[in-house]
C-alpha cells in the first residue's frame, strides 16, 4: 500500500485504530461495578455529588450516575465508529451495484437523478435524514420496536447518498471504459465481467477508497447533527421519575438515556445539562472532532499520494516525448461557469 508512506494517512489511521481497539479492550477488561453518585475523600467526608467536577481521578468529570466519563466515552467509541463503518461500507456496495444499473439504462435517467438530487443543497443533509428517521424514532416512537427503529435509521442513512454516489461512480466507470486498453480488451475475447474485474477495478479502486473515506467523514458529521436533533442512534430507554417540586407538589420528569453510550446519544442525553455541566456535551463533540480530523488526515494523505504518483507519471511522459503545451497569451478562463 503506497498510502502507508504518507505520514498524515498513517496518523489518521492510527488514531482511529487506537480508539476502536481501546474501546473493545475496555469492554473486555471492564469489571462490573455499580458506581456511586456521591464522592467521598479519604476521611469519608462527602465532597461531591454526581456529575463530579474534573479531578485527577476523573479527567473529564463523571456522568449523573458517577461513571467516569472517560470510560463512558471510550465505551461509546466502538458503537459510533462501528456504525459509521457499517453505513459507509453498505453505502459503497449499494452505490456500486446501482451504478451498474445506471450504466445500462439510457443516460437521461442519470441526468435526471443528478438534477433532482440537487435538492440536497437546499437543506442540510441531516434534515433530510431527520425527516425520514424521526417518525419512527421521535414522533410515533411508541409504534415501533427497537429493532425496526435501528433498521430504519441504518437504511435511511445508507440510502440517502446512494443517488449522488452511484451517479458519481457510474461517471468514473464510463470515463475509464473509454480508455484504449479497456476498449480493446473485448476484442481479445474478454467478457464483461473479466474486463471489469481485471481492467476497470484496478484503476477504479483508488478512487473508490478515497470516496469511502470521504463518505465515512460525512456519515460522522451527519451523526453529530442528528444528535443535536435529538435522535438516538444507538437505542434509548425512557425513565420516568417523580421528585418533590418547589412547593411540595410532586413533579414527574421523563428522561431518555442512551443505551449504548454512543457519542451522539451522550450529546442528546446530556443536552439539558449543557449550561450546568458543559463538559458532558463538549467531550463527545470533541470525540467527533477527533475522528473527523483523523479521517481528514487520511483523505489528505491519500490525495497527496495520488497526486504524487500522477505527477511522476507525467514527468516520465514529458521526458520521453518532449512535447510541451504551447503557451497562449490570452487570459483563458479555467473553470467554466455552471450556470
Amino acid at each position: 500500500m503506497k498510502y502507508f508512506k504518507q505520514p498524515s494517512f498513517l496518523i489518521g489511521l492510527t488514531i482511529l485504530v487506537l480508539l476502536l481497539s481501546g474501546s473493545f479492550a475496555y469492554s473486555l477488561l471492564k469489571e462490573e461495578s455499580t458506581p456511586s453518585n456521591i464522592l467521598y475523600d479519604e476521611k469519608g467526608k462527602m465532597i461531591d455529588r454526581a456529575p463530579f467536577e474534573r479531578s485527577a481521578e476523573y479527567p473529564l468529570g463523571s456522568d449523573q450516575f458517577g461513571n467516569n466519563y472517560v470510560y463512558v466515552l471510550l465505551e461509546g467509541a466502538k458503537y459510533t465508529l462501528g456504525f459509521v463503518v457499517l453505513i459507509t461500507i453498505s453505502r459503497m456496495i449499494l452505490s456500486i451495484l446501482v451504478s451498474f444499473i445506471l450504466l445500462v439504462v439510457p443516460s437521461f435517467i442519470k441526468k435526471l437523478i443528478n438534477r433532482i438530487s440537487e435538492i440536497f443543497y437546499f437543506a442540510p443533509l441531516s434534515i433530510f435524514a431527520y425527516l425520514l428517521i424521526a417518525p419512527a424514532l421521535i414522533a410515533f416512537s411508541w409504534s415501533y420496536s427497537d429493532f425496526t427503529q435501528f433498521m430504519i435509521t441504518t437504511c435511511v442513512l445508507v440510502v440517502l447518498t446512494v443517488p449522488v454516489l452511484s451517479v458519481q461512480i457510474a461517471n468514473e466507470i464510463s470515463i475509464l471504459s473509454k480508455e484504449e486498453f479497456i476498449q480493446h480488451a473485448p476484442l481479445l475475447g474478454g467478457g464483461r465481467i473479466h474486463v471489469f474485474m481485471k481492467h476497470i477495478l484496478p484503476c477504479l479502486s483508488p478512487k473508490l477508497l478515497l470516496l469511502t473515506v470521504q463518505q465515512a467523514g460525512q456519515t460522522l458529521a451527519i451523526l453529530a447533527h442528528l444528535a443535536f436533533l435529538k435522535i438516538f442512534v444507538g437505542g434509548f430507554s425512557k425513565i420516568t421519575y417523580t421528585l418533590p417540586g418547589v412547593s411540595g407538589t410532586p413533579v414527574t420528569y421523563e428522561r431518555t438515556f442512551s443505551d449504548s453510550h454512543e457519542w451522539g446519544g451522550l450529546i442528546v442525553q446530556n443536552w439539558d445539562f449543557y449550561y450546568g455541566a458543559p463538559i458532558l456535551v463538549i467531550a463527545p463533540v470533541c470525540c467527533f472532532v477527533l475522528c473527523s480530523i483523523a479521517i481528514n488526515l487520511m483523505v489528505s494523505g491519500m490525495t497527496k499520494s495520488e497526486n504524487h504518483s500522477s505527477t511522476m507519471q507525467k514527468k516520465k511522459i514529458t521526458t520521453s516525448e518532449e512535447t510541451l503545451p504551447s503557451a497562449s497569451f490570452l487570459p483563458v478562463k479555467k473553470g467554466r461557469l455552471n450556470a
Partner: protein
C-alpha cells in the same frame, strides 16, 4: 440568453418536483393515517396507554400519491394551510412569518458576509510572501475541516468566557424577549463559508498567477496589488459564482446547529419540530429556503451571461 432562461426554468421545476417527491416519502413508508390518528388520541388524552400500539414499515403508493396531491393543494392556498401540533391544528402563516424573515436575514447576511470577507481575505493573502502564504494556507485548510458543531460551540463558549472574566457582554448570545441578536449569529454561521470562499479563491488565484499573461504583466513592471485585484480577482471571481450552491449549503448546515445551540427559534427548528407530523409543512419550508437561493442564482447567471457572452 433564451438557453440560459430555459435551463433556469427546468432547474426551478425539477427542484420543486424533487422537494415535493422527497418530503412526501415518509408517507410512503409509514402508515401516516393510523399513526396521526393515534397521536391525536394520545395528545388529547383519550388514550392513556400506548404500549400496545404497534406498526410496521409498509409501501403504500396510493397514500404517497394522495400526499403529493394534498401538498400541492396546501401550497396553492397558503392562507388556509394548517399544521398539527400537540393536539390541535394551527394556522401556518402567522407562525411561519415569525420564523422565516429572521432566518432569511441570517442566511442572506451570512452569504454576503462570507463572500465579502472571503474575497478580501484572499486578496490580503496574495499580498503576503510565498513562505508565509504556505503557513496561512495550511491553517485555513486545517480549520476548514473542523465540524460546524464544534466551531459554533467554540464561539459560544468564547463569548461566555469573555463575559465571565471581564463582565462585558459583547453581544446578545441568545434571543431574549424582543431583543434580537443579529451580529453574533451571522458572524458564527459565516465562519466556515468564509473559509471555504477563501480557500477556493486562493487555490484558483494561485493557479491563475502561474499563467503566462500574469508573468508577462509582471515583467512589464505592473505592481502586484494591481495585478491581483484587476487581473487575478477579476478572472477568478466569476467561477466563484458556480460555488454559490455549496456556500449556501454550508451556511444552512451551520444555521441548523446555530439555531439549536444558541436557542434561536428559526426555520430549521420549525421544520424539525413540526415537519415530521406534517409532511406538507416540510415541503413548504424547503421551498421557502429554495426560493431566495433561486432568485440569487437566476439573477447572477443571467447577469454573467449578459456581461460575458462566452
Amino acid at each position: 440568453m433564451i438557453k440560459t432562461a430555459g435551463k433556469l426554468l427546468s432547474f426551478f421545476l425539477l427542484s420543486i418536483l424533487g422537494i415535493l417527491l422527497f418530503t412526501s416519502l415518509p408517507v410512503l413508508i409509514y402508515d401516516y393515517s393510523v399513526l396521526m390518528n393515534n397521536t391525536r388520541l394520545i395528545d388529547t388524552g383519550q388514550l392513556d396507554n400506548n404500549s400496545f400500539l404497534t406498526n410496521s414499515i409498509q409501501f403504500e403508493l396510493h397514500a404517497y400519491l394522495q400526499q403529493l396531491k394534498f401538498t400541492v393543494q396546501q401550497i396553492m392556498d397558503l392562507t388556509q394551510t394548517t399544521y398539527y401540533s400537540n393536539g390541535s391544528d394551527y394556522q401556518l402563516l402567522p407562525a411561519f412569518l415569525e420564523v422565516y424573515p429572521q432566518s432569511l436575514s441570517f442566511f442572506m447576511g451570512g452569504l454576503l458576509a462570507s463572500l465579502l470577507v472571503g474575497i478580501s481575505f484572499a486578496v490580503i493573502y496574495m499580498i503576503f510572501p510565498y513562505h508565509i502564504r504556505l503557513i496561512i494556507k495550511k491553517i485555513i485548510l486545517a480549520i476548514e475541516t473542523l465540524p460546524d458543531v464544534f466551531i459554533i460551540i467554540l464561539v459560544q463558549l468564547t463569548v461566555i468566557w469573555f463575559y465571565k472574566t471581564t463582565g462585558l457582554l459583547m453581544f446578545n448570545i441568545v434571543n431574549v424577549y424582543k431583543t434580537e441578536a443579529y451580529f453574533l449569529p451571522i458572524f458564527t454561521i459565516s465562519i466556515l463559508p468564509t473559509l471555504y470562499v477563501t480557500k477556493y479563491l486562493i487555490l484558483s488565484m494561485e493557479d491563475e498567477s502561474n499563467k503566462s499573461y500574469i508573468e508577462f504583466a509582471r515583467g512589464k513592471g505592473l505592481k502586484s496589488i494591481y495585478l491581483i485585484i484587476v487581473y487575478m480577482l477579476k478572472n477568478t471571481a466569476p467561477s466563484l459564482f458556480g460555488q454559490t450552491k455549496t456556500i449556501f449549503w454550508i451556511l444552512l448546515s451551520n444555521l441548523l446547529i446555530l439555531e439549536i445551540i444558541f436557542n434561536i427559534y428559526g426555520i430549521m427548528r420549525f421544520i424539525a419540530e413540526y415537519g415530521v407530523e406534517n409532511p406538507h409543512l416540510a415541503a413548504i419550508c424547503m421551498i421557502a429556503i429554495f426560493l431566495p437561493f433561486f432568485i440569487i442564482f437566476a439573477t447572477g447567471s443571467l447577469l454573467i451571461r449578459k456581461l460575458d457572452p462566452r
